[in-house]
């Protein structure tokens, strides 16, 4: 079960896996995620599903090494298995005809954004992908996303590819230049999603973001993934993971993500992973 049938390195510390998981592949819809456990004694952590194929019974997962568990996942090779994979969890993305849909990705946010862009295009939207990354090497899935969009624009922090600057500013420029945008979906690091929401709020563009807080069970049982949306507590695992980006309290969530920073350092030191990896 959960055998890795194919593995690729997409960018430094970013790994792409095709994982055998017929049940999840059968029911997966864009926006949903899985919880993984790599080894006995390992922790449970969420990853948004980047694609699925009912025919081969496989799902695509893209993971960035940020801690011990994602580090262990990256070490798994083709033919090996992931110990536990459960899903598809969370509510699927609302897919319908909005007009022009901006799909804005930051870093590996491009992976979960891919199935959303694909579906949005399928139902007749004009899809514009704004793909942001630190630098040229960190851009992932550019070709794949170009196949499911009408237009693809790139922003890099260091200017090594495309627009020199953050992706939210690229979005602002294009809206100013008259690029239409009836609906936006942004997935990436919290500061990036917050910045995108600041732009879309200005232009009154409804914006959905996908949140990735710390989770244990992923089915609503622990409440660890609670986020404040419109002043109310919501559980990202069952009420989300997608929410109205203009109503999300990003600062509170950013803070909650740092809850175990000291323990993460300790776990990584023991695992022999250098800091800041």
């Amino acid at each position: 079960m959960f055998t890795i049938v194919e593995k690729k390195i997409l960018a430094p510390k970013v790994t792409w896996f095709r994982v055998e998981s017929p049940l999840i592949a059968k029911r997966h819809k864009p926006g949903q995620f899985v919880l993984l456990r790599v080894c006995e004694e390992g922790e449970r952590f969420p990853l948004t599903i980047a694609d699925s194929d009912k025919r081969t019974g496989t799902i695509i997962l893209v993971s960035q090494e940020v801690g011990k568990s994602t580090g262990l996942l990256a070490q798994l090779e083709q033919g090996e298995s992931i110990l536990d994979v459960v899903g598809p969890l969370g509510k699927p993305t609302e897919i319908k005809k909005f007009g022009t849909v901006a799909c804005i990705a930051g870093g590996i946010g491009a992976a979960p954004l891919y199935p959303i862009a694909k579906k949005m295009l399928e139902v007749g939207n004009r899809v514009v992908v704004y793909l942001g990354a630190r630098n040229r090497e960190a851009i992932i899935l550019q070709h794949e996303l170009s196949l499911v969009s009408d237009r693809l624009l790139i922003a890099t922090d260091d200017g090594s590819s495309g627009y020199h600057g953050v992706v939210s500013e690229l979005l602002r420029q294009h809206i100013r230049l008259g690029e239409s945008c009836d609906h936006a979906t942004a997935i990436g690091p919290l500061p990036m999603m917050k910045a995108v929401c600041a732009v879309t709020r200005e232009y009154e563009i409804p914006t959905i973001v996908s949140l990735n807080p710390i989770m244990v069970d992923g089915t609503g049982m622990c409440g660890g993934c609670r986020v404040r949306v419109d002043g109310k507590i919501q559980f990202a695992c069952v009420d989300g993971p997608e929410f109205d980006g203009h109503a999300v309290d990003f600062d509170s969530l950013a803070h909650r993500l740092r809850m175990y920073r000291d323990q993460e350092k300790c776990a990584m030191e023991r695992a022999g992973v250098p800091h800041g990896a």
Partner: protein, 494 residues
């Protein structure tokens, strides 16, 4: 069976040997150590062997209590265990976590004049006796039926229903959302009250009966109930998903770092073994001062778990007085002996921010008891202007759980009540959908392990009756799909 009658009341109720409080707070080992054979027989002798025993009616799963105790008196411990196993497949668990003082022991005739017979301690002794000797009472059924039953959730209700149906020869598969079976028995109840090795062993017995367990399957997400019927060839479904949606207090500051639900806190420690961090990868934050909010068994479990993670102080805040605490007396006493500081008539109104998003304390208001409310308990009323702050860096909120909607919301026609609990007949678990039964906390709201087991048992009987009404299968049942290959040995479905 003839035996010398001991004069009732001459032998006192035998106390349970336990680890001294000062030692046990240093470890996660079991607090109570269990009877020796001598103690068990001494206690068993106290039973009056009533002609009309009231204790059996007091047991939600109707164990023939006098008969098993007679076997203990006779020194036939295996026979005693076999007698219990007829009614209860999970005796080692029940002997530990059942509130016997409210059930069998509450109605024990001895208890009218003296202290009741320690039925729970005897049940535990007997179960441990066979367990310790590796004797399995579970025997695969001699004949199997062509019927397949899916059980959703591997907690007390689901395990009991599965065991009963497997004994009747039906092919049973349990679907569990987590990576390990046991439900609240593994994620909720702490190791020091219910060792996980015992849960694993009891689940092993069910596997011997032929029960298959599929972990990592969330029914309503991974597979829908209607798919179980239409595509996977199941004839009936039992929903025993429990009450697993934690309530929060909905007061300011609840998203500060350091605030946990009891479910999360206990799951991190019990299921994910955070007490072994960094040998296990899941951490838990326990700072100098821990405050647990609530008065039930979960609050007590959380407080005693926190104590074992080496804080300076653990306080338990409850808005009513000690007399109204819903937790078991035995657990309240254990918690007090171990050093949990009880602060009664105290209600939190706000969590205090240290200034950087971390918890620094909880602002509370003193309460006094007013007129009785609908629960019959005196209603706590805040004393105006009595606000004060309890310093703490970790809070565990243990104020109850609601119903998870994942199954109900993905099963058309399945009726729920205004609290989101599945509507099911108490005597049978029958729901608004034919072939779907439900029992335990998902029906009643948060209750006890044994009540869930009682519901699982009743539902199993009703499911068995329902299966008899189905026309014989004319076509071959669909082959077990490749992705549902059994995770362990056992009797394969027909």
């Amino acid at each position: 069976m003839a035996r010398d009658k001991v004069k009732p009341g001459r032998v006192p109720r035998q106390p349970m040997p336990e680890q001294p409080a000062s030692e046990r707070v240093q470890n996660f080992g079991e607090v109570t150590l269990g009877f020796s054979a001598e103690l068990a027989q001494l206690e068993a002798e106290r039973c009056l062997m009533c002609k009309k025993p009231t204790c059996i009616d007091g047991c939600p799963v109707s164990i023939d209590i006098p008969s098993f105790i007679q076997h203990v008196v006779d020194g036939d411990f295996e026979g005693a265990a076999a007698k219990i196993f007829e009614s209860n497949s999970l005796a080692a668990i029940c002997g530990r976590v059942c509130p016997q003082e409210d059930q069998c022991e509450a109605v024990c005739v001895m208890g009218k004049k003296f202290e009741p017979v320690a039925i729970g301690r005897l049940e535990r002794f007997v179960a441990d006796y066979v367990r310790g000797r590796g004797l399995s009472l579970a025997k695969p059924p001699t004949a199997t039926t062509e019927r397949r039953v899916a059980i959703i959730g591997s907690g007390p209700a689901g395990l009991t229903a599965a065991g009963e149906l497997a004994k009747l020869g039906h092919s049973v598969t349990i679907f569990e959302a987590l990576h390990e079976p046991g439900g609240v028995l593994v994620y909720g109840i702490p190791e020091f009250r219910l060792p996980k090795a015992i849960v694993a062993q009891e689940i092993g017995n069910l596997k011997t009966l032929g029960v298959q367990i599929e972990t990592n399957v969330v029914i309503g997400r991974t597979i829908l109930i209607d798919e179980l019927f239409d595509e996977e060839g199941y004839d009936a479904v039992f929903i025993g998903t429990g009450a697993g949606l934690p309530y929060f207090l909905d007061i300011p500051g609840e998203d500060l770092n350091g605030v946990y639900s009891a479910n999360e806190f206990l799951t991190r420690v019990n299921l994910m073994k955070a007490y072994r961090f960094p040998d296990s990868d899941t951490p838990v934050q326990v700072a100098k001062n821990v405050v647990v909010i609530g008065g039930g068994n979960t609050a007590l479990d959380a407080a005693r778990t926190a104590l074992r993670l080496h804080p300076e102080k653990v306080s338990l805040l409850y808005r009513r007085s000690r007399a109204e605490m819903p937790g078991r007396n035995e657990e309240i006493e254990h918690a007090e002996d171990e050093g949990v500081v009880f602060q009664m008539l105290t209600n939190p109104v706000r969590f205090v921010d240290r200034g950087d998003g971390w918890l620094a304390g909880v602002e509370c208001v003193r309460m006094e008891l007013g007129e009785p409310d609908e629960s019959g308990r005196r209603r706590p009323v805040p004393v105006e202007g009595s606000n004060f702050v309890v310093e703490c860096e970790t809070v565990v909120v243990a104020v109850g759980n609601g119903a998870n909607q994942i199954v109900a919301s993905t099963t058309p026609g399945l009726q729920t009540n205004r609290h989101g609990n599945i509507v099911a007949e108490e005597s049978s678990g029958l729901t608004s959908r034919e072939g779907i039964f439900a029992g335990g906390d998902i029906v009643t709201g948060a209750a006890t392990v044994i009540l869930a087991m009682g519901a699982g048992k009743k539902a199993a009987a009703a499911i068995h009756d329902f299966l008899q009404t189905l026309p014989p299968k004319t076509t071959e049942p669909p082959p077990l799909a490749a992705h549902l290959k059994p995770s362990s040995g056992g009797v394969l479905p027909p």
